[in-house]
């Protein structure tokens, strides 16, 4: 930052002109709505459209019942699995972009970013069309199946039974695949920005001194790219944990995540206080994740 900060007291008029709009907006259209939700989470239904904020903890008690707790844990597991797959797919891609010829690098980045700019609903819908029982994914699997069947006849075995399209959609597999599809760009971009800053001569030194590519990768590249990995994990895990659309459209009856349960409290079940409590539990979970991350990065700073 260039130049010293000005004290607001010496510049009251410009400060008021600049600060009032953002502060006012934040207070009225962010803090106020969130506060109402928070208050509702301590309330109970007093009538069809009336909520009595009585300070009860019943909503939170109910949220810790096994039914809801298991959905919470399942959401966390699905989000963690999604993040892990994104990391495995994304790391080599980020490496490839980092070490690509300068002419190609921006275009590869654009290639990763363009889907991120495309409407989420359209992307989910496009993936669903591909995964339907008549979709191309099933056709591809059918082709593989017939190939395997033909190979079996070649070695004198009985051919496999005729291919029947499998239900790829509406199950947990579809939810994870959908979440990976949507969140992959989130993972690649922070990984790339960390790898781009990495001193490439360190990799060369490691290779020159006899470490193989794999050893260099595990012992030099990964530790140096750790901040980018953490950033990528957070930026993928947090939205994946709160995902609503993907489990709703691509999941089956057993693959609902916490966001779907929250939605139901506000639409069909019409239990706003309980929904409010679940929302705040989700927000607290985010805060814990972020606190863990900042604790970790503080530790790293101290260690240096």
């Amino acid at each position: 930052m260039s130049g010293p900060l000005q004290d607001w007291k010496s510049q009251r008029k410009p400060f008021a002109a600049i600060a009032s709009a953002p502060v006012f907006w934040l207070a009225l259209f962010f803090i106020a709505p969130m506060t109402i939700v928070w208050l509702y989470s301590f309330g109970q239904n007093a009538g069809p459209a009336d909520i009595d904020i009585s300070g009860t903890l019943d909503n939170y008690k109910r949220a810790t019942e096994w039914l809801y707790l298991s959905i919470f844990l399942k959401s966390l597991a699905v989000a963690a699995l999604t993040t892990l797959i994104c990391l495995i797919i994304g790391f080599p891609v980020a490496m490839a972009i980092t070490f690509a010829a300068p002419k190609w690098r921006p275009w590869l980045l654009l290639g990763i970013m363009l889907p991120f700019w495309t409407n989420l609903l359209i992307r989910t819908y496009a993936l669903m069309a591909l995964m339907g029982t008549n979709g191309y994914m099933n056709k591809g699997l059918g082709g593989l199946w017939e190939g395997a069947s033909w190979l079996r006849t070649l070695v004198g075995m009985q051919p496999l039974e005729a291919w029947t399209p499998v239900q790829l959609l509406y199950n947990n597999f579809a939810v994870v695949l959908g979440l990976v599809y949507v969140h992959l760009p989130f993972m690649v971009l922070p990984l790339y920005s960390a790898l781009d800053r990495l001193d490439k001569s360190l990799i060369e030194a490691s290779l020159d001194l006899g470490a193989g590519h794999f050893k260099t990768f595990m012992q030099v590249v990964v530790p140096l790219a750790a901040p980018g990995i953490v950033a990528g994990v957070m930026i993928t895990l947090i939205p994946a944990l709160g995902a609503y659309l993907t489990p709703d459209l691509m999941g089956g009856t057993d693959s609902q995540m916490i966001a779907n349960v929250i939605e139901r409290q506000f639409k069909r079940a019409n239990d706003w206080p309980f929904g409010a409590a679940l929302s705040f539990l989700l927000i607290y979970a985010m805060f814990i994740l972020i606190a863990l991350q900042s604790m970790r990065s503080n530790k790293v700073k101290e260690a240096r």
């Binding site: 000005q6 953002p22 797919i89």
Partner: protein
């Protein structure tokens, strides 16, 4: 591709397995979208077999009044949300960059919250908020879109502030002081010195806000009423209840719009600038 020079140790991108990995990832990212776009021209109700080229689903989509209305609503909301987010976001960035004031850390932290808080929670908060304050729902167009627009501004302006603040870091404050020494008023210095410097980040911020607003489904789903359907909400109900090739056609139009916007941004900033904005 068929370069004869030997592959240097760090030229990972020239290794075959690396190329196939990137190629497969790109295939994974783009194949669904490309298939969707191709089949929007398919002359068949079922989406799998190519039956010949047709534009009839585009005609149908454009004659589907509720779909067009939803599209107009979405673009209107995105337009107003972008303008207001741009103003508030820029002011917020300048405020944090220029002044020292009490509770600054708290204000800064609170401002990044709309980015972090899950969409579903924000959507729920707005649903309760607008019900609680009895926000009028029977206003004439486009005022009936105000609730959705307000919700969109709340999650768009912190992104604008982030982009603008990154750009402010490279501003030389002496330029502004020189302008003031030469007799410029506070406003003139802001308009003629600071704003021109911020221009690339304002373009990037505006495009980001526009896309975020156009893209949003979850928050809109909770704040929209029967008369204020946006494009994603409309597509959602179409996907949910009756998949028709019209959705493919309408989606293709929106994808092309997004790509066009991205390339406008490219023209303004260069590919490098876009990637820096993220």
């Amino acid at each position: 591709m068929f370069n004869r020079t030997a592959i240097a140790p760090l030229e990972y991108t020239r290794k075959l397995w690396m190329r196939s990995w990137v190629g497969l990832t790109m295939l994974f990212l783009y194949a669904p979208l490309i298939v969707l776009m191709i089949f929007s021209f398919n002359d068949s109700k079922r989406n799998v077999v190519w039956k010949g080229f047709t534009l009839k689903y585009y005609e149908k989509a454009l004659n589907n009044d509720s779909l067009v209305e939803a599209m107009v609503n979405s673009l209107t909301i995105a337009f107003f949300a972008t303008i207001i987010s741009l103003i508030i976001g820029t002011l917020a960035a300048v405020m944090l960059w220029r002044f020292r004031f009490p509770f600054k850390g708290l204000v800064e932290g609170t401002m990044s919250l709309p980015i972090i808080v899950p969409e579903i929670c924000l959507g729920v908060a707005f649903l309760i908020f607008f019900a609680k304050v009895d926000w009028p729902t029977d206003l004439p167009w486009p005022l009936n879109l105000s609730a959705i627009t307000i919700a969109h501004i709340t999650f768009c302006f912190p992104f604008v502030a982030m982009v603008v603040r990154a750009r402010l870091a490279s501003f030389n404050k002496e330029e502004e002081e020189a302008a003031k020494d030469l007799g410029a008023t506070e406003w003139q210095a802001f308009r003629d010195v600071l704003l021109p410097h911020l221009k690339p980040s304002l373009v990037a911020g505006a495009l980001l806000a526009f896309t975020l607003s156009l893209d949003d489904f979850v928050i809109t789903f909770f704040t929209s009423g029967p008369d204020t359907i946006t494009f994603p909400v409309k597509v959602y109900s179409m996907v949910r209840f009756s998949v028709t090739p019209e959705v493919n056609a309408a989606s293709t139009i929106l994808i092309i719009l997004t790509v066009a916007l991205t390339f406008i941004a490219l023209k303004y900033q260069g590919v490098k600038g876009i990637s820096d904005a993220h």
